[in-house]
């Protein structure tokens, strides 16, 4: 506790330093107007608060009397005065309401031709869908062009909040909610040396955004928080927004994340795709029967199909199942899987196959079958 007390002056100093700002950086077209309105309301509040607090203290000093003294006046009411202070503040209220509502309508009406990005919220993370099967947890947008987010949630209510943009919208399961904004400050890039140093120090673990204050690709960013309480990891359900100066820069980034990085093994890339691209929703890893067969018993297994034929689930079978999923449906399952044709590259598919080999009991590294597992597998 003593250590804490010693921090106190230092902390106060931080707060009083000249760089103090009330709001975070203004980085969208909404920000300036919103902040103006905030300070407009605040100054009206101050205009009322100072006389109220002033009267409070002044009266206490001026009319503080020893016990037993009578009040100087006993005026019970003054209707004109009371009507005046009931009605006059209403004009300020109407002004606030009108400005707030107009600005709000502007924030709600998505301009035509806005760049559309899909957003999926889940416990506890975000997936941004850039189309053509490119998905990434980070939100990358273009500067000086409106961006529209089409948002859905796969479990509970979440809420997207980008303080720098002064924009917020709940993501409600069972419906799409939309929001839009136009960023007007592009994210800077850090130097290659700085990025290389950070990458080296960070190691292979999860990238520490708070520590480095730039992304793994070297961009500065704006925070994106979840602001609707969603359970255990609500407070770490954060991601970042990167604003690109040019379309070329954005496309280059999309191109980069849509492919397996040179330093990543196909197995690791396959695992990432398994988690990011929705495979995990229907295909379990632990043998549980979901909408589709579990990957625990997929690769290398003898499969029996709905049309009565048999085949071993080899590389070619898996490739066909991804591209033409309704051709050979395993017995006992419905033909509901969508085709991933055009959404996954050859390298992606090869990576997924490599990953499936590592999780299957029938894969190349399969352990000798023990008695317990045998009963588990046969059905």
């Amino acid at each position: 506790m003593f250590a804490l007390m010693n921090n106190m002056p230092h902390l106060l100093g931080d707060q009083l330093a000249s760089k103090f700002t009330w709001f975070p950086e203004q980085a969208s077209t909404f920000a300036a107007e919103n902040d103006w309105l905030f300070f407009f309301i605040t100054w009206i509040c101050v205009l009322f608060f100072i006389p109220i607090a002033g009267c409070l203290f002044y009266f206490c000093w001026k009319y503080c009397k020893p016990k037993g003294q009578k009040a100087e006046s006993n005026t019970a009411h003054n209707t004109p005065l009371e009507l005046a202070w009931s009605i006059l503040p209403s004009f300020f209220l109407v002004a606030m309401f009108v400005m707030g509502a107009r600005s709000y309508l502007n924030q709600r009406t998505v301009p035509e031709g806005a760049n559309n990005i899909g957003l999926k919220a889940f416990k506890w993370g975000w997936t941004m869908d850039y189309g053509k099967g490119v998905m990434n947890p980070e939100l990358h947008i273009l500067a000086n062009e409106p961006t529209k987010l089409s948002m859905r949630s796969s479990d509970v209510i979440h809420s997207v909040f980008v303080p720098a943009f002064r924009a917020k919208k709940d993501v409600v399961p069972g419906r799409y909610n939309y929001m839009w904004f136009e960023a007007d400050v592009a994210s800077e890039r850090v130097s290659d040396e700085e990025l290389a140093k950070a990458k080296f120090e960070n190691g292979d673990g999860v990238w520490d955004y708070d520590k480095w204050q730039f992304t793994q690709d070297g961009y500065r960013f704006f925070d994106l928080y979840c602001t609707e309480y969603c359970g255990k990891n609500h407070s770490v359900m954060q991601t970042v927004v990167v604003v690109h100066e040019t379309v070329e820069d954005l496309d280059a980034w999309i191109e980069k994340v849509s492919k397996r990085p040179a330093d990543q093994t196909p197995e690791a890339w396959g695992e990432k795709l398994y988690n990011q691209r929705g495979c995990a929703g229907c295909h379990s890893l632990d043998g549980t029967k979901r909408v589709g067969p579990s990957f625990k018993e997929s690769y290398g297994n003898q499969r029996r199909f709905a049309d009565g034929t048999n085949a071993t689930a080899d590389e070619d079978y898996i490739r066909n199942s991804i591209l033409y999923p309704k051709k050979q449906v395993v017995e006992g399952y419905q033909p509901v899987m969508p085709s991933y044709q055009g959404q996954l590259s050859d390298d992606d598919i090869a990576s997924i196959i490599a990953y499936l080999k590592t999780v299957s009991d029938y894969g190349p590294k399969a352990a000798p079958v023990t008695d317990d597992e045998e009963t588990n597998i046969e059905e």
Binding site: F38, L56, A76, E82, S235
Partner: protein, 590 residues
């Protein structure tokens, strides 16, 4: 012949009825005489003890939360389950504070004691229902707290779906507890409505009622009309969890936002259940301690009713970002602004009451002044949240946390403390240390501001609510807030110490208890100051003279006895031909 004209402290010997030397605290003894009491004053005292205990528990949890947030990664809860612990603690803090402390604090604890005495009545209209509602509260409280603790409820006090329909913790048990507590609240409200409607003494017209009664009446209306909606909502939630009826859960084609509409249809009026009685207390406190007639009585009374009615129409402002249609959102924003007008009227009227008064800076007055200061900040920052565009940024951030704590703590809690200090001499017959009381008021004021002012900035900078860990850039403000909460906690302990010391709780440690309280230590003109302190079992020896509750002209200070006495029997007297069921009859006073 009015009560005031008798020599103070005179004993009215009336065989068969307790004399003032036997007050309601001493007229019967033993634990059973408390457990089965039908006396509204004892029930009020039991509520006071109950809500104070609840506040103590929830307050300690609040300190735990603030300590945890001292460091960005969390200081108190560690390990894999740290965030779960944090979530359970903030849920417990909010739920206990709302359902077990703020809602029952003023109406059930102070209201039970004061409503009949202020009416010059013997008891509330339905004393048995009153005891029943107290036991429902105790039962509901135990049920609620044990359910929350046993299962680790982590939904927040708002139970938002679909989180609450899918989480593992026992939502059903907790909502059942809240359901029971709702009945307690409804019974109390019903009791007060009937009492105020039917038991006002002759001469006390609606506009001669103390403003505390007006506020209690308005509160009771909300309790009776809104609480059933909470009951329905919680039942639907239970049905959704057990039978999947598909009303809230999108998994079964329900709409989770429907739950928010249901929930806030109760919980927004409930905000006014929490603050209206506080307005009533402050109106009385400001007037009595300024020794001046309340300014604009009718405006204050009408504004309570206006708030109660308008409060039913603004629930949607909790859901501006949820995705309601633009039109709905704008209508709710407009309605929200209308509620701010009656609240502002009250603040202006209180200031006008102090103007040219004769102000005594007693402990209750210090709390009342603190209330006006803090509530004004709380009310004004509500404008930022009612304005749609700015709410888009501030919604669900610490700005909201600071705003509602300014209203609920700076408002209701401070008013409750002011009320307790004001009526403490009446309730327990002892005066407390004024210096200690004022010190507590100052510490609470300073600690409160240090805790919650930084949170306005935190919220404006984008710090979201209900975060167990946060980005390092917010650390400095969070730490200031934590220091403030320690000071606030210390101030509250001082208040508790001062009050308990006055009734002799620490006499074994050589700390003398307070002086015996006179019937009227502050110079109040409402009826409760006409009976002895503490009141006798039947409250009044004879039917009290009903006068103007805010006419202080015939009250004189007797310095050597440290009390106020009525000097001239100017007051209107009850006509003799209307016999009252009071124990003492008019023959004595003739």
């Amino acid at each position: 012949m009015s009560a005031g004209s008798l020599p103070s402290g005179s004993q009215v010997k009336d065989p068969g009825y307790p004399t003032p030397s036997e007050n309601y605290l001493t007229n019967s003894k033993g634990i059973l005489s408390w457990i089965f009491t039908l006396d509204h004053k004892r029930i009020g005292v039991m509520y006071l003890v109950g809500v104070t205990l609840a506040f103590g528990v929830a307050g300690l949890l609040a300190l735990l939360i603030r300590l945890h947030l001292f460091q960005p990664d969390g200081m108190v809860f560690q390990g894999e389950e740290a965030n779960n612990w944090y979530n359970q603690v903030f849920t417990l803090h909010g739920a206990i504070m709302v359902f077990l402390f703020i809602i029952p604090s003023v109406p059930a604890a102070l209201g039970n004691f004061l409503v009949p005495v202020m009416l010059g009545a013997k008891d509330v209209a339905f004393p048995r229902l009153n005891l029943c509602s107290f036991y429902l509260w105790v039962f509901g409280a135990l049920f609620f707290v044990s359910a929350l603790c046993a299962s680790g409820l982590d939904t927040g006090w708002t139970f938002y779906t679909p989180y609450s329909t899918t989480t593992d913790s026992s939502v059903i048990l907790a909502t059942s507890g809240a359901f029971i507590l709702g009945f307690s609240s409804i019974f109390t409200g019903l009791n007060f409505i009937v009492t105020i409607n039917t038991m006002r003494p002759p001469g006390m017209t609606w506009f001669r009622m103390p403003l505390f009664l007006w506020a209690t009446y308005a509160t009771s209306i909300i309790q009776v009309l809104a609480t059933p909606v909470l009951g329905i909502t919680l039942l639907l939630l239970i049905a959704e969890r057990t039978m999947h009826i598909g009303i809230f859960d999108p998994e079964y084609n329900g709409d989770p936002v429907t739950f928010q509409h249901f929930f806030w249809f109760y919980s927004h009026p409930a905000v006014y259940i929490m603050i209206l009685p506080a307005f009533g207390i402050i109106s009385d406190l400001i007037s009595v301690h300024s020794h001046k007639r309340i300014f604009g009585y009718r405006f204050i009374a009408y504004s309570s009713i206006a708030i109660a009615l308008l409060g039913f129409l603004v629930w949607g402002h909790h859901m501006f970002t949820a995705g309601m249609s633009s039109l709905t959102t704008i209508i709710f924003s407009a309605l929200t602004f209308t509620v701010s007008v009656p609240s502002a009227i009250k603040v202006f009227n209180w200031l006008a009451t102090m103007y040219k008064g004769s102000i005594s800076l007693t402990t209750p007055m210090c709390y009342a002044l603190s209330f006006i200061f803090l509530f004004t900040i709380g009310g004004l920052t509500g404008l930022h949240l009612g304005t749609l565009a700015t709410d888009m940024h501030l919604h669900d951030t610490y700005f909201v946390v600071a705003h509602f704590h300014y209203v609920m703590v700076g408002g209701t809690l401070v008013a409750f403390l002011g009320g307790v200090f004001h009526w403490w001499p009446k309730m327990f017959g002892k005066m407390y240390s004024e210096a200690g009381g004022r010190l507590s008021a100052f510490l609470v004021f300073a600690g409160f501001n240090l805790t919650f002012l930084p949170q306005f900035i935190l919220g404006s900078r984008g710090m979201p609510r209900r975060y167990a860990t946060y980005d390092p850039e917010f650390a400095g403000l969070h730490q200031m807030s934590t220091y403030g909460s320690m000071l606030l906690g210390f101030g509250l302990l001082v208040a508790l110490f001062v009050l308990l010391r006055s009734v002799g709780a620490f006499s074994r440690f050589g700390l003398a208890c307070g002086k015996k309280a006179p019937a009227n230590p502050w110079g109040g003109a409402t009826l409760e100051w006409q009976c002895t302190s503490p009141p006798p079992f039947y409250n009044f020896e004879r039917a009290p003279a009903v006068g103007d509750p805010y006419d202080f002209s015939d009250l004189e200070w007797e310095a050597d006895e440290e009390r106020y006495v009525t000097v001239e029997p100017k007051r209107e007297v009850i006509p003799e031909e209307q016999p009252k069921p009071a124990p003492a009859h008019a023959e004595d006073s003739n």
